[in-house]
């Protein structure tokens, strides 16, 4: 085959030109700048000043994941986020950072999140255990969610494409399978939404 790795390594650099020093830019840079601004604005809305420090990290994380997933939709590409190791490597440190920062700055408030308001007194011990479990499950959930969604999507595409390809000599079924693949592809381009979910959940754990 053709060493597509060369193309895969070089072409993505075109996608994000460095923002120029001009006041009015071309369309691509204008759109990217607008998108990043809107996203950051939405992201920082519920946060107080301490949370604003996370803006760069979260926005760049979001862009990273979007690019990774969208490029993974192209044929003969590899999506790193289908590997559990990468996603856990992103999820666990960030989650741990939010927990530790919360604990260091306001230990009582951070621990207080473990108990929702207005619980009847006998339920308190059980509820604390449950909340702790949910707290610790969060990084697992984040990482595994991303991995599972992307892997499942890619797998489905490949399987259905193989099936359609094999069935090509026998016509009608192919047509139906084609339409299914197409539809699945459009759905998969909601990999972006996955990223929104990832970053947003990360944001939600920012009770800083």
């Amino acid at each position: 085959g053709i060493p597509l790795i060369a193309l895969a390594l070089t072409l993505p650099w075109i996608l994000f030109p460095t923002p120029s020093t001009r006041w009015l830019n071309n369309r691509l840079i204008t759109l990217q700048g607008w998108f990043i601004n809107r996203f950051t604005q939405q992201l920082l809305l519920p946060l107080n000043l301490g949370g604003h420090k996370w803006a760069v990290l979260l926005t760049s994380l979001m862009l990273f994941l979007i690019t990774l997933n969208m490029l993974g939709l192209l044929p003969y590409t590899f999506t790193p986020t289908t590997q559990l190791s990468l996603n856990m490597g992103l999820a666990v440190p960030l989650w741990l950072a939010t927990v530790i920062i919360g604990m260091r700055n306001q230990p009582t408030a951070a621990l207080g999140h473990l108990l929702p308001e207005g619980t009847p007194v006998p339920l308190i011990p059980v509820l604390i255990i449950i909340e702790t479990i949910s707290l610790f499950i969060r990084p697992l959930a984040l990482g595994v969610r991303l991995t599972a969604n992307l892997t499942a999507g890619h797998l489905l595409i490949q399987l259905i494409a193989t099936a359609a390809f094999v069935l090509l000599p026998m016509m009608p079924t192919v047509a139906i399978l084609t339409s299914i693949v197409l539809f699945l592809l459009t759905l998969l381009e909601i990999a972006v939404a996955m990223i929104q979910a990832y970053v947003f959940v990360l944001l939600l754990s920012l009770y800083l």
Binding site: R22, L31, Q158, T162, A164, L182
Partner: protein, 241 residues
């Protein structure tokens, strides 16, 4: 700020350090081209077609593309497998999306730029109008200042007139007062003279009356009677003629 091999040198700083020393000038920034490069079918630049036109004519690049494709497929450099299928579907979706939403997105990006320009333009226009207005107002103020001179002259005239009238009134008053005093004196003197005259007349009359003795009275009465008789005779003679 020097730039050596070991340290990373941001390009901006290099440009800054060459301010006014290199012949390249950073400003004004050359303008961006209005539209992107021309492409045929959205992917292949028009320049390829122009390049091949002299040798192969209009169909050159298409034949090149078809031949390349056939070569790749037949020599099995590129194998058709399930991914080709997925690629075809993905390509369809992408092309459909671009065709459908492309112009809208482009218009949106243009609108963003337009809004930026318009904001600046508004500021500039506002500044222009306010400055023009300021010029108008200033000219008006200058005209008013000239007019003020006339106002001052008029006021000066007014004041002078007032003073003049006042002065004349006072002069009149003075003359009147003086005349009154003099009239008084004159009246006093006439009165004096009259009283003296009357007194003298009375004295003369009294003396004359007392000096008339009865003889004189008789003699005068007799004379009067003779005079009257003569007169009557003369008169009779006149009427008889």
């Amino acid at each position: 700020i020097s730039c050596n091999k070991t340290s990373v040198c941001p390009p901006r700083l290099v440009q800054l350090s060459h301010l006014h020393t290199s012949p390249n000038s950073q400003a004004p920034v050359p303008a961006l081209p209005e539209k992107g490069g021309k492409t045929r079918h959205g992917i292949i630049p028009e320049e390829l077609f122009q390049l091949l036109y002299p040798k192969t004519g209009v169909t050159g690049p298409y034949v090149l593309g078809a031949g390349l494709l056939t070569y790749i497929l037949s020599k099995e450099i590129y194998i058709i497998n399930h991914e080709t299928f997925a690629a075809a579907c993905m390509g369809t979706v992408i092309i459909y999306g671009v065709r459908k939403f492309g112009p809208d997105v482009a218009a949106f990006a243009d609108k963003l730029n337009e809004e930026k320009v318009q904001k600046a333009q508004e500021v500039k226009d506002l500044a222009m109008t306010s400055l023009a207005q300021a010029i108008q107002d200033e000219k008006k103020e200058q005209w008013r200042a000239e007019g003020r001179q006339m106002l001052f002259d008029a006021k000066r005239n007014n004041v002078a007139m007032l003073l003049e009238t006042n002065h004349r009134e006072r002069v009149h008053m003075v003359t009147n007062e003086v005349k009154k005093r003099l009239d008084y004196q004159i009246a006093l003197q006439t009165l004096h003279r009259r009283m003296e005259q009357e007194h003298m007349v009375n004295w003369v009359e009294k003396n004359v009356v007392t000096s008339i003795t009865p003889q004189q009275e008789k003699a005068s009465i007799a004379k009067c009677i003779t005079d009257l008789k003569v007169l009557a005779k003369v008169q009779q003679a006149k009427t008889a003629k």
